[in-house]
Symmetry: C2
Subunit: 171 residues, 2 copies
DNA sequence: GTTAGTGCAAACCTTTTGCAGCTCT
DNA sequence: AGAGCTGCAAAAGGTTTGCACTAAC
């Protein structure tokens, strides 16, 4: 369980491991998907109805600044919120289908290669690297072909995710 | 001038070329830096004090959906706003110094390579790809070394950009 | 003359802040 | 005990929306 490592890392730096943080850490680590602050809050609320949304934001900020979680945008998949994942796995790119919203992860050497080249090219010290790719997954390509069948396929609406809900109300 | 191409592209699709849009297009194309909506608005206001902030947002949305400009986050350099650039140049990564805020652009084959690999690996149709890299530029590395000189260099505060202003007030 | 686009005000979503009270160590 | 956290309320920052008026074609 990755959250163990994170807990240790926090303790070492004199950061308190509160009940709320335990809940949030566990959720971020186990959910298996990319959570945004609001989803995380909703999940956390089930385990502790008193836990406040502000605490979620503060915890995420803490983890982010400590370099324990990475913050993603996922091509603004569902609005302008951010998504989070634990920073344990190898560097990877996020591949987002603009139609169905599915997110794939791509590992592979071009990423390392890119990082190295940037470091040597600029004498830059890379701390975070984020690659996000938007387009259509194999499945949605065929679906789209069927839908628009003969309908003149002018410029594909690049940022116009079709079935993805934006700005879903919170209330 | 790149904005010519954009203007043509809009006309073809029956989109009106208003005075406001001309101003904004010209600015995005010529500023030479990555503008966010607010900066663009401030610049546009000098040319037409009546031009409204809302029009800036609506124009950016239009251009983005038409695939004529790309939207960037630049590692949330100065807050949570977005930055824009015309979509003409070859694909490139943005390399952002978290200390001084300088943004470099990296062209080069690892990017193309990455894109191709993702396409073939997932059978994915890539429309937009965005790579943003945060860290310290050569100059700031030496400055930091001097500052923290012997000061135990624990975890570098990854997302804690030091001298970069966040949430600059608009009013 | 139509229809798309603008400005204004007000809403909206996401995130942050101030402060009093609570709780880890 | 005391610094560190939390919850609550309120604000901020960034962006969108409804609607009447204006301007591009």
């Amino acid at each position: 369980m990755a959250s163990q490592g994170i807990k240790g890392s926090l303790k070492e730096r004199g950061i308190r491991l509160t009940r709320q943080r335990e809940i949030l850490l566990e959720l971020i680590d186990q959910s298996g998907r990319h959570l945004d602050a609001e989803s995380l809050y909703q999940l956390a609320r089930k385990k502790d109805p008193k836990l406040n949304r502000v605490t979620v934001y503060r915890t995420l900020k803490l983890l982010k600044q400590s370099g324990l979680v990475d913050e993603l945008d996922l091509m603004h998949l569902g609005g302008d919120q951010h998504y989070y994942e634990t920073r344990l796995k190898q560097e990877h790119a996020h591949v987002i289908c603009l139609r169905c919203g599915r997110v794939e992860e791509f590992f592979g050497e071009p990423l390392q290669r890119l990082r190295r080249q940037i470091e040597s090219h600029f004498g830059f010290n890379v701390l975070i690297a984020r690659t996000e790719v938007g387009g259509y997954c194999a499945h949605c390509q065929t679906l789209r072909a069927r839908e628009h069948s003969a309908a003149a396929d002018l410029e594909p609406a690049i940022a116009g995710s079709e079935h993805i809900r934006k700005r879903a109300s919170r209330k």
